[in-house]
């Protein structure tokens, strides 16, 4: 896209997107949890539960370990901030976003990496057995998931000869509907990465505190109150972001491309909601159907993802599609 | 006139010491004689620069750029070595390894040796050249066996027999040369062995005969150069004699021998244009480089170590002369200079180090840098220089040689590469622990003379960064008539 001094409408879209993401993320998380509950014949918690959780945490007094360093207190804000910015880059409703030219897909991956690094560092800061254990596992997951995600994006970028995410989805959305075997491969890879990165079964179980298995939770053990709230919110945002990336890459239709008008936006919102609903259900389904892996097996799981992504690239170069 | 002085002074010195060598200030007198020789040599150099080549005494003596720079070099190293040997021999006496009588012999033979080398360098008569070379052997044999230890006797014996036999071959070569020359220059004999005349008619000399002659000469003088596999005497002779002698043997005698070989090569190459002589030289060179490098690996005795390194460097020089061409020849001449300076300075430091540690075994020499930093740094820098690390002059010549080889004889470069690598590993791996680390060495009764060491290293450094124009002019002049324009 050419550099245009962002007009008012774009600014609005941008802000709107971010706010929407902030608002929708916990809701999406709640929705997923609800689906999981239904699928496993349990009474579903309220879909608003995540909100309540967050508000409750904000009200509480923060308790810090004696030897917690400033880094420990900064980390939540950084993680949260990066997730919000990420939400601003990903074209969930419209593709003409002012922020987008400042950060393409590679930068997006970088953002996620930043968040992960700060999370892990914060986890190591207090120096508990669990914290370091969580950090180690998180980084292990990360260093395999990150290149996989990068490759996924790389395939899409090669197809559409750009690394700017909106441009990619525009390209994919606007051109004639065709079959992309490479994208099929990468879609699988992406799903695996999504599961791993968002601490879902089979890699991690968000609902357990069993030290043998937990990864993400182990890192948050020392957090409380507003810091914990930000962390939770951030992870909800991350799930939401990943979902939106998935939409942008694999089901880009319905996003307001070209010059955005209020109408286009208005149209794109219900589409997005629909996508989210479906995606949430699918995610819950996957989680219920699959069993938790031993942590030692996680690398194999991610290696598969990486492999699929690379295969996708290969296929693309071979078949040019 | 200067030439006469150059030859007369050392000869006189030999005589003088024959009578009063046992005096206390013998060392100073020795220095004085060497200094005189050196000054005379400088004067000679100046004359050559101003008036060109010199032919004196019925053409019996001949001075051209090629040998005048060797004469100066020889005189200079002779001077510095005598400076070094002053405290060194004092310490040896203090340690009771030599008696006054032996010291007399030492000084007398030292001057004698100088004389023979200068004679060999300046004579125009191939026969006299041979005589002088043989005399050089004889005068050093007694120096090698100065300590009368079993090892030194064995070394002396091997040195004597091997070099004697080798030199005998050279004599036969000379005879054949004479034979070939006589048919061109007429049978009146006298001129037929004069190098200048031979050089004048070299294109008419009989190739078949010269080929044989060259083989005999090469084997003969090559033995003294220490070309593998004729080198066997060299490490023993270097290791067992007093260190000043090792210094001059390695720094000067080998040069003189190479000088002889090159003189012959010039004649032969002029006579016939088959690449045989240069091939032989290159073969000898490479073989020496490789064998020298691998021999280095097993050394325990520090002087043997550097003796083998001399073999390696002689190999490099011979290889370069073999390649021929102005660049390689220039490099070879430069290498002769820097090698003799560096190697002798190394032997100086080695001598002091060995005296401090009371042993020549490298395992007993430790942490020189802690006890006497100057000796330590001298050895370290010397070793780095001899290993061909810039900005020392050795690197300059090796730079030219290797780059030339890469274009002219690419097949040889892998061999050189391996050999240089191995040599580096061997020497440096040995030198480092001697220089660095803890030490338990002892102080010496007489302060070591390190002026020569650093003087040499300074010159080598200079030659690496800046070759004075007149020196360069010599080299090029010499190179142009050895290696052809």
């Amino acid at each position: 896209m050419s550099i245009m001094t962002p007009g008012i409408i774009e600014i609005v879209t941008q802000v709107l997107e971010v706010v929407a993401a902030l608002a929708a993320a916990p809701l999406f998380l709640g929705w997923v949890n609800q689906c999981r509950a239904w699928l496993s014949n349990r009474r579903a918690p309220s879909i608003w539960l995540p909100y309540r959780n967050i508000r409750k945490l904000f009200d509480k007094d923060a308790v810090l370990a004696e030897n917690a360093s400033p880094l420990f207190r900064i980390a939540p804000y950084v993680v949260f901030g990066t997730m919000v910015v990420a939400a601003g880059i990903i074209p969930s409703m419209g593709t003409r976003l002012p922020l987008v030219i400042a950060a393409d897909a590679i930068a997006l991956v970088g953002l996620f990496a930043t968040a992960r690094v700060f999370l892990s560092l914060a986890a190591m800061d207090v120096g508990t057995a669990f914290g370091t254990l969580g950090a180690r596992r998180e980084m292990m997951v990360g260093f395999l998931a990150e290149p996989a995600l990068l490759m996924v994006i790389f395939v899409a970028s090669m197809i559409s000869a750009t690394t700017a995410l909106p441009a990619i989805s525009e390209h994919l959305a606007t051109q004639a509907l065709g079959i992309y075997p490479s994208l099929a491969f990468t879609a699988i890879a992406f799903t695996l990465v999504l599961l791993a990165e968002n601490a879902r079964i089979p890699v991690d179980n968000p609902a357990t505190h069993l030290e043998l298995t937990m990864i993400h939770e182990a890192m948050l053990l020392e957090y409380s109150a507003r810091h914990l709230a930000l962390m939770e919110w951030a992870s909800a945002l991350r799930l939401f972001n990943y979902a939106c990336i998935g939409f942008a890459l694999f089901v880009p239709w319905g996003v307001a491309t070209g010059q955005i008008g209020p109408i286009a936006l208005a149209l794109s919102i219900p589409v997005l909601v629909a996508k989210l609903v479906v995606a949430g259900g699918a995610l819950a389904l996957i989680e219920t159907l699959s069993a938790k892996l031993r942590v030692m097996r996680a690398p194999e799981f991610l290696a598969t993802a990486f492999l699929f992504a690379v295969l996708g690239l290969l296929v693309h170069v071979l078949l040019g599609a | 006139m200067e030439l006469l002085l150059v030859l007369a002074l050392p000869a006189a010195g030999a005589m003088v010491f024959g009578f009063l060598g046992a005096r206390r200030e013998a060392a100073e007198i020795n220095v004085a004689f060497s200094l005189g020789t050196f000054l005379a040599a400088c004067a000679l150099t100046v004359r050559v620069i101003n008036h060109g080549n010199q032919l004196v005494a019925h053409e019996q003596f001949f001075v051209d750029p090629f040998n005048v720079f060797l004469v100066t070099l020889t005189a200079f190293v002779g001077l510095t070595t005598s400076l070094f040997s002053r405290p060194y021999m004092r310490v040896e006496m203090a340690h009771g390894r030599v008696t006054a009588g032996r010291l007399r012999l030492y000084h007398s033979m030292y001057q004698m040796f100088m004389f023979t080398m200068l004679l060999a360098l300046t004579t125009n008569n191939m026969g006299l050249l041979w005589v002088a070379m043989e005399a050089a052997t004889l005068s050093t044999v007694l120096l090698v066996t100065l300590y009368r230890t079993p090892a030194s006797l064995e070394a002396g014996w091997k040195y004597f027999i091997l070099c004697g036999v080798g030199i005998a071959q050279a004599l036969f070569g000379t005879i054949l040369l004479y034979f070939a020359a006589e048919r061109v220059l007429g049978a009146e004999g006298v001129t037929a062995l004069l190098w200048t005349h031979l050089d004048a008619v070299r294109s008419q000399l009989e190739p078949a005969v010269l080929a044989l002659a060259f083989v005999f000469l090469l084997v003969g003088y090559g033995t003294k150069v220490g070309l593998a596999p004729l080198h066997s005497w060299l490490p023993d002779a270097h290791a067992e004699g007093p260190t000043p002698i090792s210094a001059v043997l390695s720094g000067l005698l080998l040069n003189v021998a190479i000088y002889a070989v090159v003189r012959c090569k010039v004649l032969v190459e002029g006579a016939f244009h088959s690449p045989l002589p240069s091939r032989m030289l290159m073969g000898f060179g490479l073989l020496s480089v490789v064998l020298g490098a691998f021999f280095l690996f097993r050394q325990r005795d520090i002087k043997r170590l550097f003796a083998y390194s001399s073999i390696e460097h002689m190999g490099i020089i011979t290889f370069a002369f073999g390649m021929g061409g102005p660049v390689a020849t220039f490099a070879a001449l430069l290498h002769m200079t820097v090698h003799s300076l560096t190697k002798s300075s190394i032997f100086f430091t080695v001598g002091h180090a060995a005296q401090k540690a009371g042993s020549q075994l490298m395992d007993n020499i430790r942490g020189l840098i802690t006890l006497s930093p100057t000796v330590g740094w001298g050895l370290m820098l010397g070793a780095l220089a001899i290993l061909g690390l810039p900005p020392f002059g050795v690197f300059a010549s090796e730079f030219l040689i290797i780059t030339t080889a890469m274009r002219e004889q690419p097949w040889a470069t892998p061999i050189l590469l391996i050999a240089l690598g191995v040599a580096f590993a061997a020497i440096f791996g040995r030198v480092q622990p001697m220089v660095f680390g803890e030490t338990d060495a002892l102080r010496l009764p007489h302060p070591p003379a390190l002026l020569p060491v650093f003087a040499h290293l300074a010159i080598v450094l200079l030659l690496g960064l800046y070759v004075p124009p007149y020196l360069a002019h010599w080299y090029q002049a010499a190179a142009s008539f050895i290696g052809g324009p």
Binding site: - | Q60, L153, A155, K158, F160, A168, I175, R183, L193, L212
Partner: protein
């Protein structure tokens, strides 16, 4: 066959004699008789020189003949005999290669030497060009002898006979070298012998024997 003039016949006879003596030395194990053989060789050399001098009428050859007699027939053998008596070395031990083998090798060497001499003999205009091959042969045989012997003394004698061979070569190829050179060479040989004399005593007092296997300690091979 064409009838050669007397002097040439003499020269050829000398040449043959040289070769014969060389072989004799190669086979001889008593050091005393080695010395004698060496002296004889010197005599033959002197004779050759004389004949050549008479034939060519070159003055300096007479002188060199005298020199040869003085040094190689008289002085050196005397010195050697004296050394032998002083040092009590009469026999060389068993050579490294047995006599017959050495002989065989020597034969091969002679053939090789003649092959070498071919190009030279074709050019030589001297009376006794055929002798050049023999000269080379003598040198190489002396070399062989030095290799195979174990006693310092016999090695030295080999060295000296090699010198003889060289002179014979000079004589046969070019009627001798210029005077300066001959003098120088003779001088060297003399000095060499003196040095050797010193040597022998030093070695003797160190190892109380002149056997070379004492002199095998300096080596790389453990």
């Amino acid at each position: 066959m064409t009838h050669l003039p007397l002097d040439l016949q003499l020269l050829n006879a000398c040449a043959a004699l040289m070769l014969l003596l060389a072989f004799a030395m190669l086979s001889q194990r008593r050091i005393v008789s080695l010395v004698n053989l060496y002296a004889t060789q010197g005599a033959v050399l002197a004779a050759t020189t004389l004949v050549v001098a008479w034939r060519t009428g070159e003055g300096h050859l007479y002188f060199s003949a005298v020199l040869t007699v003085a040094v190689k027939v008289a002085f050196l053998p005397w010195l050697l005999h004296r050394l032998i008596r002083r040092l009590q070395v009469y026999w060389d031990t068993e050579p490294l290669l047995n006599i017959s083998g050495t002989m065989l090798l020597g034969l091969v060497i002679v053939v090789f030497a003649f092959a070498l001499a071919q190009p030279i003999t074709q050019l030589a205009n001297t009376a006794m060009r055929d002798a050049i091959g023999i000269a080379i042969a003598v040198v190489l045989l002396a070399f062989l002898m030095m290799i195979t012997r174990r006693k310092a003394m016999s090695q030295v004698i080999g060295f000296l006979s090699m010198e003889n061979g060289l002179f014979f070569g000079a004589m046969s190829a070019t009627y001798g070298m210029p005077m300066v050179v001959e003098l120088g060479v003779a001088l060297d040989v003399l000095v060499a012998m003196l040095v050797l004399g010193v040597f022998f005593f030093q070695i003797r007092e160190q190892f109380d024997s002149l056997d070379l296997h004492h002199l095998e300690s300096l080596k790389e091979l453990e």
